[in-house]
């Protein structure tokens, strides 16, 4: 009989119930969409922030001071310390190895280069030396556990983009040339003895060949230009080559000087900023096992011996501040949305009880106690809450999907525990919204209601 009464109230006035249901479903859709965006956005944005480039810099520990201006190290090749390239695979063995998104070693060398014969350079002291930057592009690194990992400068520094051509392939004598150098070298060619005084108007472009000549008088490899690089930085005036070519030009086989690491990190909070030396062992464990940029720096330092791992502050801190703000902002929007949905749904639930005064009066006149009337109406409301919550969850997930695809170009995984949260929330809100009118209803005197007063 109880169930029949509940079922009957749905079939008798479907339109009415539909509206309550719609209000609930919409409210819960807001909740689901906002919650799933907020839950996902931190990770997604952290990924996006990697477009700012590396946030960790590894240099030799015992080193003379680099004479670096605008990204170019002016130390001669024989000054300062170097690091072994062979160790780099160990980066993917640290505790937070999956958070290491990319890394690329750098070795610079100075070289004379021209598109004419290499011999012409030795007669031309006025021809300037150029910076050669050796690095990895799409490089396969061997990891000590037997696997390999592909990484390179195009991942650590995503703003290094090619204007023309393609990146060099490792193993071949190929190079990529900075856009300013490509233009400048063309206009200065006439100064070279081999050119016969002809000024080439053409820029260097993919297809040209560069002859190289090291500063200490050795012939270097003949390089095929395969691309023109645009970074907006000092690399626009340099020749970028595979690391092994730079090593042979600098006379430092198997070594590099700087390593850029791009890691996914958790924004540093007050705890993350604490000095690990002043922590208790328990605190240290917690810190070590959190992907704070400083913890990752420490772990890299433990793997790569003799290095000094520094946090690139402008990237790490800028990222931290902005991420924290955006995340808080979205949580607040979510809670505001939840509050508004709750109020509107509660109001709707209250209205649906208010309008049933006659029915309640009749039931009481027929001998139903206040408790039974309350339970009956609550059961009805709960049923509405479950159905509405379920529909709302489905709509919300669809919206969150749409949002994720539009903005981040990816689809967030539907989270089942959100369904649970949404159902609990829906039941709670409807019951809360109905509570006051139900209390009033239980105090109704049936007689005046039945008389229509």
């Amino acid at each position: 009989m109880f169930l029949r009464l509940v079922a009957d109230s749905f079939t008798r006035r479907p339109k009415r119930k539909m509206l309550t249901l719609a209000a609930l479903a919409l409210g819960m859709a807001v909740a689901t969409a906002a919650l799933s965006v907020s839950l996902d956005v931190g990770d997604r944005l952290a990924q996006e922030f990697r477009s700012l480039g590396a946030n960790l810099l590894v240099t030799p520990e015992a080193d003379s001071l680099p004479l670096e201006i605008g990204g170019v190290d002016y130390r001669p090749a024989n000054a300062g310390a170097y690091l072994p390239e062979a160790d780099l695979g160990k980066l993917k063995t640290i505790f937070w190895r999956h958070n290491i998104k990319a890394f690329a070693p750098i070795l610079e060398a100075q070289v004379k280069a021209s598109p004419f014969s290499e011999y012409s350079l030795s007669d031309s002291p006025s021809w300037p030396a150029f910076t050669v930057i050796g690095t990895w592009v799409n490089h396969e690194v061997k990891i000590p556990d037997g696997t390999t990992y592909v990484t390179g400068i195009e991942k650590t520094n995503p703003w290094w983009q090619l204007k023309e051509g393609r990146w060099f392939r490792e193993g071949g004598n190929e190079c990529v040339i900075g856009k300013n150098l490509a233009a400048a070298m063309g206009t200065r060619l006439g100064e070279l003895p081999g050119s016969g005084g002809v000024v080439a108007k053409d820029k260097l472009k993919p297809g040209s060949t560069l002859f190289t000549y090291t500063l200490n008088g050795h012939l270097g490899p003949k390089l095929d230009v395969v691309g023109v690089l645009d970074t907006g930085g000092p690399e626009d005036n340099a020749i970028v080559v595979p690391l092994d070519i730079a090593q042979s030009l600098a006379g430092k086989p198997g070594e590099y000087r700087r390593l850029y690491v791009s890691a996914l990190t958790k924004p540093e909070d007050a705890f993350g900023r604490k000095d690990p030396k002043s922590m208790t062992p328990a605190e240290f464990d917690r810190w070590y096992c959190s992907p704070y940029v400083s913890a990752i720096a420490l772990q890299i330092g433990q793997e790569l011996k003799g290095t000094d791992v520094r946090v690139i502050r402008r990237v790490a801190e800028g990222e931290g501040t902005i991420l924290t703000r955006v995340r808080t902002l979205l949580w607040l929007v979510t809670f505001a949305a939840l509050a508004a949905a709750a109020l509107a749904v509660g109001a709707s639930a209250a209205a649906s009880v208010l309008e049933r005064r006659t029915e309640i009066g009749l039931m009481k006149a027929l001998g139903a106690g206040s408790g039974l009337v309350g339970v009956l109406l609550a059961a009805e409301q709960l049923l509405v809450a479950f159905v509405g919550g379920g529909i709302g969850y489905a709509v919300g997930i669809l919206l969150a999907r749409l949002l994720g695809e539009k903005i981040f170009g990816f689809t967030p995984e539907p989270k089942l525990f959100l369904l649970f949260i949404v159902l609990v929330l829906a039941s709670f809100i409807t019951l809360l919204g109905s509570a006051y009118p139900l209390r009033r209803a239980s105090q109704y005197d049936p007689a005046p209601i039945l008389r229509g007063e």
């Binding site: 001071l65 607040l332 209205a351």
Partner: protein
């Protein structure tokens, strides 16, 4: 409608007849209005503030000599600093001129000199264009006319701390400076010594010259582009460009975050309005008896609908005015929580959100139009 006082009297009675219903309606409309105004206000404010937050990344625009490249090392005339705009998008633009010299440095009293990059700086906001942490700092010593700052790595190499002195020399020219801070940036700056511009100019024997100017320009990606174009025109001898690393990432992130915010706000507002509307319609259907009675005593359908519309508008105005006020107050507080600075209330938001609430309220009364088909007799007989 010749009988205006009567019309409004009925409206008044409609509204005040049932306080429970009145409360429910105002609650739903007010909640909708509050969230509308709070989100709109916060959204306008957050986008603007986001551009300010990006400045935590440091300098994003750089002025270099036209022929500057790694090998020729050209310089600019110092007078360009005077010609730089002081602000963009209402925010000051920190600008610092640098002159780099590779010289030799030693701690005062020691004879072992080492090569290091000495960066002479002049201008407002060195800490803004060069973000990092000062691990040591003394405001007292900063006032010293010969004050200088050491990068963390350089400080370690020369074993200096705040209060120590450094000897600088370059091809026979010498200078002394007193360290007032040690700065860690994680970049090349860690290995440099930052002195007054004049000191570096003396050491390099380049009076009145600078290597480059770094600026930290606040604004949307478009506004920064316009700033660069305008400045290029003003400084024909120099090459003004955005630092690609930041410009690209900032543009991308700005679009992502503001897109996310806009989309979330639109969806939340849309769903909330619909939710309020559904709840209100639920309340409105209840008016069947009133409509039946009005029609029975001779009210035309137009008249009856107009009565209920008037009621809806009054409710919308009241609910909107109260709710929006709460919403704006709320967003001021939210702004303070997120950005540490209270959000500035935009007064345009107030009428807009009141307007939206009125529209939602009218739209919620829409089901009443269907009541026009109600036959009074069936209502009175209690047939629903």
């Amino acid at each position: 409608m010749g009988n205006s006082p009567m019309f409004w009297r009925i409206v008044r009675r409609l509204i005040t007849a049932n306080y429970g219903r009145l409360f429910v309606i105002l609650l739903a409309l007010g909640a909708g209005a509050a969230i509308t105004s709070a989100l709109l206000n916060l959204q306008i404010d957050a986008k603007r503030r986001l551009t300010t937050e990006f400045r935590a990344l440091g300098a994003n625009v750089i002025v270099v000599p036209r022929d500057a490249n790694a090998t020729s090392g050209g310089t600019l005339d110092q007078t360009v600093i005077a010609g730089l705009p002081a602000e963009n998008a209402g925010k000051p633009v920190p600008a610092v001129a640098f002159l780099y010299v590779i010289g030799e440095v030693a701690k005062a009293g020691e004879i072992h000199y080492q090569a290091a990059v000495i960066a002479g700086t002049e201008g407002q906001g060195l800490t803004q264009v060069r973000p990092g942490r000062r691990t040591e700092y003394s405001a007292e010593l900063e006032k010293d006319p010969a004050a200088c700052e050491a990068g963390a790595k350089a400080a370690g190499q020369f074993k200096v701390h705040t209060g120590d002195s450094l000897h600088l020399r370059n091809q026979g020219r010498e200078a002394t400076c007193n360290v007032f801070a040690v700065v860690a940036t994680g970049g090349a700056e860690d290995t440099q010594i930052f002195t007054k511009l004049a000191t570096a100019q003396t050491l390099a024997e380049l009076p009145g010259r600078i290597s480059l100017v770094q600026l930290s320009v606040t604004g949307t990606p478009d506004s920064i582009d316009r700033f660069i174009k305008a400045l290029s025109k003003r400084l024909p001898g120099a090459d003004v460009h955005g630092i690609k690393q930041l410009a690209e990432a900032e543009g991308k992130l700005y679009n992502r975050i503001s897109g996310l915010l806009t989309a979330t706000v639109i969806i939340v507002l849309l769903l909330t309005s619909l939710c309020v509307m559904a709840g209100m319609s639920n309340v409105a259907i209840e008016r069947k008896n009133d409509v039946g009675l009005m029609k029975a005593i001779g009210g035309s359908v137009r008249r009856v609908v107009r009565l209920f519309l008037a009621e809806a508008i009054v409710m919308g105005i009241v609910g909107g005015l109260i709710g929006s006020a709460f919403g704006i107050l709320g967003s001021i507080w939210l702004g303070k929580t997120v950005f540490g600075v209270a959000a500035e209330p935009r007064w345009i938001v107030y009428p807009v959100s009141v307007g939206i609430t009125i529209i939602v309220s009218i739209a919620s009364a829409f089901p009443l139009r269907r009541l026009a088909s109600i036959r009074p007799a069936s209502v009175f007989r209690g047939e629903a």
